[in-house]
């Protein structure tokens, strides 16, 4: 198990390297420098700026400098917010983004599994069809349509929740729900499908034949095998929530990393955009890795030996 974990970790290193390299060289390919302005700067000042940001060095040296910085958790200076480093900006946005992400993930997993199991138990009933139709809609209607609709209904018509900003727990409800909805829908569909498959398998029939009550059968025999596909979906779910958070933070005006990312993209703040891309990509890789390891521990078919 440990050697498998180490091997997988070693496999993630080239991926990380590719991410950093692709984003770094893409940004360097960009036409025009980061300090291009309508009015040309005097050459001496421009040279000083170039030196301050190490842009006068050969490109490979800049790359190794960036890579070395990353390993120490330093994303370099922001090109547009001159008094901040990218690391400081990311730290500033982290609390809000983490709250949203974890909140959405927790709700998505709990609600998705509960809904999926209910639908599987009441298979082909009206409730099942209703829930699955709702799930299909939840997957397809994009978050940037759902978010304004939710804030219209709950914020403006019903006046139950704030429509934006980041003050107090109430302001986190709508963003978290928006982020969680498509994931709830996907997880519910996955759970339903795999629970139906498990419910039909011989060992469940045996358990029932032994006279175990339904609840026991569900908890002891169905739950674990039925949840394995959900576990492997958690990787893509993280990616989906990170992507969704960009839009949701923008709509609800939440001071998180996603909003910085959008502003930086519109301002062409290369280093900040690059920093967020690298951070999110690494997060997704790490999360996928953790999910894979967990999967290996839980799935008896894969075996414990490396």
């Amino acid at each position: 198990m440990l050697s498998y974990a180490l091997r997988r970790l070693a496999g993630a290193v080239p991926t990380f390297f590719v991410i950093v390299a692709v984003s770094f060289f893409l940004v360097r390919l960009a036409p025009g420098g980061p300090f291009d302005q309508a009015r040309r700067l005097p050459p001496a000042i421009e040279a000083n700026l170039q030196r301050a940001y190490h842009l006068d060095e050969p490109i490979l040296q800049q790359f190794t400098r960036y890579l070395g910085g990353l390993l120490r958790g330093d994303f370099g200076p922001s090109f547009k917010y001159h008094d901040f480093s990218v690391t400081e900006l990311i730290w500033g946005g982290l609390p809000a983004s983490l709250t949203l992400g974890f909140g959405a993930m927790t709700i998505a997993v709990l609600a998705g599994i509960a809904i999926g199991l209910t639908a599987a138990l009441k298979r082909n009933s009206r409730l099942d069809h209703l829930v699955m139709a709702a799930a299909m809609t939840g997957i397809i209607v994009p978050s940037f349509v759902v978010a304004p609709l939710l804030s219209l209904v709950f914020g403006i018509y019903l006046r139950l929740l704030p429509v934006g900003g980041w003050r107090g727990a109430a302001s986190a409800v709508l963003p978290i729900v928006t982020l969680a909805l498509p994931q709830i829908a996907t997880i519910a569909r996955l759970t339903r499908a795999s629970a139906i498959e498990t419910l039909g398998s011989p060992f469940v029939r045996t358990a029932r034949a032994k006279g175990l009550p339904d609840v026991q059968v569900m908890i002891r025999h169905v739950l674990k095998p039925a949840l394995l596909p959900v576990l492997s979906y958690l990787g893509p779910a993280t990616a989906g929530i990170l992507t969704g958070s960009v839009v949701v933070e923008q709509i609800f005006g939440i001071p998180g990393i996603g909003r910085y990312f959008v502003q930086a993209s519109l301002n062409r703040d290369y280093t900040l955009v690059m920093g967020v891309v690298v951070l999110y990509a690494s997060l997704i890789i790490l999360f996928n890795l953790a999910v894979d390891l967990l999967y290996r521990v839980l799935d008896p078919k894969l075996g414990r030996a490396p």
């Binding site: 209607v141 994009p142 940037f144 978010a147 609709l149 219209l152 955009v273 990509a281």
Partner: protein, 293 residues
């Protein structure tokens, strides 16, 4: 020689595609979706005949006016006084175009890559698929945004960038098919006859793996449309005076408390299109592979 090569005229059997067509026609959800999509696509093409207004004509006395059938503003006007019906249909043009073109780009890259990897096999295959694995772990949307930031926002770049990130699944599916196809007798025969590898891939492998490719491509279209709307919503997609559904939705979201129809109409069009495309994709899959049900 030619007498030998000519097969005996076989009785006309039921072809895979005709069978699939009949099953598809029996799928009510899929047929209804084809209808919805046809209405949207045709009205997008026929905007000039459906409405007398141009997409940038401004009605100074009608800013964010609600839908009004008498003056033929069926969707109302936006905050700049432009007719929303016309703008939504122009948005449909862009969204459908992005969906089709980017899917074609992904199709070309994915099918070529997958077919070559699967057919050549061995070390080349292992290397090529390892690259796909690495790329798979990347959050592509962020890279597309990075591309937009670096090279400026142009619609051509959107086509190519979205196509270039959507080919991975396609390459995997095609490779799997190619791996099993290349052991079939007709491929072996071609090889024995001395047909070069590239020609075998083009003439024998690719035509035979079209089924799953078509299914997957139909499911790629809505994803690409959604991506484009997402980018446009953030202000990183198509630019004024062009308007995709993402742009319209983002404008609508800003004035949702005073003029909710600005969000509702483009949002409903986007949702309907995505839903229809998904149903059609599922329908084609079920039609081509009835076992899958």
């Amino acid at each position: 020689m030619s007498a030998l090569a000519l097969p005996e005229a076989a009785p006309r059997g039921r072809s895979l595609w005709r069978d699939a067509g009949r099953r598809f026609a029996g799928n009510r959800a899929a047929m209804a979706s084809v209808g919805v999509l046809a209405v949207i696509a045709l009205s997008a093409l026929a905007v000039p005949w459906l409405s007398p207004y141009s997409r940038d004509a401004i009605f100074w006395d009608l800013m964010a006016a609600p839908p009004d059938l008498a003056a033929w503003h069926p969707f109302g006007t936006d905050t700049n006084g432009r007719d929303l019906f016309v703008r939504t249909l122009h948005g449909a043009r862009i969204s459908l175009m992005v969906g089709t073109v980017a899917t074609l780009v992904s199709l070309v890259i994915g099918v070529t890559y997958g077919a070559v990897a699967g057919y050549l096999g061995g070390k080349v295959d292992a290397l090529m698929m390892r690259l796909v694995d690495i790329l798979y772990a990347l959050p592509f949307l962020f890279f597309v945004i990075l591309l937009m930031v670096v090279f400026g926002r142009s619609i051509l770049l959107i086509f190519i960038a979205l196509g270039a990130v959507e080919w991975l699944d396609m390459a995997r599916i095609v490779r799997g098919q190619a791996l099993s196809l290349k052991r079939r007798e007709f491929v072996e025969a071609a090889r024995v006859l001395g047909v070069p590898s590239l020609v075998i891939v083009r003439r024998h492998i690719v035509p035979n793996l079209l089924g799953p490719v078509v299914v997957y491509a139909t499911l790629t279209v809505p994803r690409v449309i959604l991506f484009e709307s997402f980018l446009s919503f953030l202000g990183l997609g198509v630019q004024e005076p062009m308007a995709s559904w993402g742009v319209l939705i983002s404008e609508g979201a800003r004035s949702i408390d005073t003029a909710p129809w600005l969000l509702l109409f483009p949002g409903a069009c986007l949702a309907a299109t995505l839903l229809a495309l998904n149903f059609i994709g599922d329908g084609i899959r079920d039609a081509l592979d009835p076992r899958d049900r």
